[in-house]
């Protein structure tokens, strides 16, 4: 079985727009190629939207076990946590064709932190988000009447 891991050089995981984001990815097995994707995604009550901003393809993945990547972060959208929706930023390494993946999340904002429009943020939320697994379940439809 193939495995993959990803690590950012910057341990703080807080970035400002236009900053350089770099890191390394390691894998086992012999994937055809390894793709590192820089993207944002939403979570919360609405369906998840993913916006892939940039891709970095590690060539000769069969002959190597690790690769370095580097991206220049765009001007937005900034990370935010609202009442119904949260926007996260992440880099993900994906082995192709087996589709094994590893993700590293970070914040993109004017001062390198997530915006909280409603000012109700739990201060621990950001660190939990980076440590915990990403919830992959869909937002359940809400039953209004008669159910």
């Amino acid at each position: 079985m193939n495995t993959v891991s990803i690590e950012l050089d910057e341990q703080r995981r807080c970035f400002v727009p236009g900053a350089k984001l770099s890191g390394r990815t390691e894998w086992t097995g012999t994937p055809r190629l390894v793709e590192v994707r820089l993207f944002w995604f939403t979570s919360g009550r609405a369906l998840r939207q993913v916006g892939i901003v940039s891709r970095f393809v590690v060539s000769n993945a069969k002959d190597r076990k690790l690769g370095r990547f580097e991206f220049i972060l765009p001007r937005g959208p900034w990370s935010f946590a609202g009442r119904s929706v949260t926007l996260h930023w992440a880099v993900e390494a994906v082995l192709i064709p087996s589709r094994e993946s590893a993700i590293a999340m970070f914040s993109l904002g004017p001062e390198g932190r997530r915006i909280n429009p409603f000012r109700e943020e739990d201060l621990n939320a950001e660190s939990e988000e980076f440590e915990g697994a990403i919830e992959c379940n869909p937002p359940a439809p809400q039953l209004l009447d008669g159910q």
Partner: protein, 552 residues
Amino acid sequence: MWLAFIGMFVPILMTLGPDFLAALRSYTWKKVPCTMVYSKVTQAPYSANTPTALHYQLHVEYNYTFEGRRYTSRRLTTGKSSGTTDPASGHHLVSQLPPGTAGTCYVNPRNPSEAVMQRGRLWMGMFLFFPFIIFGLMGHEEIFAWLEERNWCRRLTAPLPISETNDALRLDKRTLMFGVLGLAMGVFLGGFCVVGPVAQWLHSRDWVETDAVLMRSELTSRSGIHGPEYSLEVDYSYEVAGQKYHSTRRCFGGAMDEPVADLTAWAAAHKPGSSIRALVSPRDPAEAVLSRTVDLGWISLSLTLLMFCFGALMLFQCVRTRWLSRRLHGATLLTACLGTIRQTPSQLRVFPPPLVSAIGCALAALPAGAAGGWSLYKGVRALMQGNGDIINLLYGAGGCVAALCLLACAGAFFRKACHCRPILEVSPGTPSIGRAFNLRWRFVGPRRKVGWLHVVLEGFEQVKVRHLIQGYHGPISEEKKERSMFAMLPVVQQERGDALTGSVSVPVPPEMMHSFQGEKSAILWELRFEFGKDSSEKLEYRFPIQLVPAKS
């Protein structure tokens, strides 16, 4: 639900199944030449239980030779019945196959004494799918929920990379289903109720006036889903070149909203046995009408248009989602979700102006009110004659209510149009978070007197969430927009004095979130303008504004 499905499917299968199988079987039969012995059309009761329900039966006899042996058959087609309610089709066949003419028939090679002149109609088999369509519509929410659950279970057992789970831009199967259904129903209704009758009317310009005798003119009623349904049963006979024909057609088309009061008046004015003039096709004398008019009806037209537009809109939504899912990445994605940066001042106007909206609503109220009023008048007239013209009453009331709502909207817009409205200039065109922007305003239009003015910059979080609601035929889901305000920044608070023109510098705090436009979620900013000439008057306009992230 399963019991309902079985209750629907079994009777349909028992009624249509044998005929469909027989029709299917006849397509394996051999085509051989035959000679007509006789052919005629007779009028007979549909069944022994319904002696008043008449239909036209086609009687044929023909000889054919198969593998050197001569046979005679009297079967027209496969299936139990060889009758039709349309005399024109019967006459048409009889005129094509007079005795002595050579034709073709289809012979069962395993039993050569079994033969038919026409193979059964395979499209009748489509009706076998009706229970599936109805069942699918009733239980579509459960079916989609099951499919989605299966999809999520699959995703849990074999996790996908997060970057490949773009659910917001995935094709919504519900939208696709309703789009296809709406378009199919629009095409079906449009074809049968509009295109068909108009095409027939266009081809009937050279039809010849002929004397006819009215055999039947009677208003009949039956129980429908909305209550009693009425139809005018007409039958008249005429002669062309010494041959007698029957027809049951009054005009082209047959609107579902034809007023019962008009039908009653027609039946009263045309008694059975009276002479009448019919228009007969010179090419096929079996085709005739009493009046060369097209009966379309506003309900059929409106339903066709509504179904078609609804279906087209849903399918456009599907195509748009597919297009976005392929296009939105890199720079295009950033422009789509953040907007284009504009340094030059941008002007924000009320669009459409209230007067245009008022005229639009009033114009839309005219056809709705006229059609609704006409139907309601006809429905009430039928009610006074003792007939419940439910379709005209129901749709007439609906049309009148819609017209009243549109008139109320037109009135509200017109009242707004009688006052001045603001025009704003925002500089730079797309303000940034953490920087100040300049806002200038002036008022245009009539009654330019502004005694007080409040301008507020408001930020909203908006999500589109699918909700389940209990419908008449089972649960259905619909996507609803939900908005919650996260910021309200007062910009101008002018309580007295002339505020017709002015300008202000608006600082946008750095901790605010910029505008973000996602497919199912968004951060929106609006400038709310409230004003009036005094405290008794309050007018409100909202102007969406794009706030972009500050340059780092």
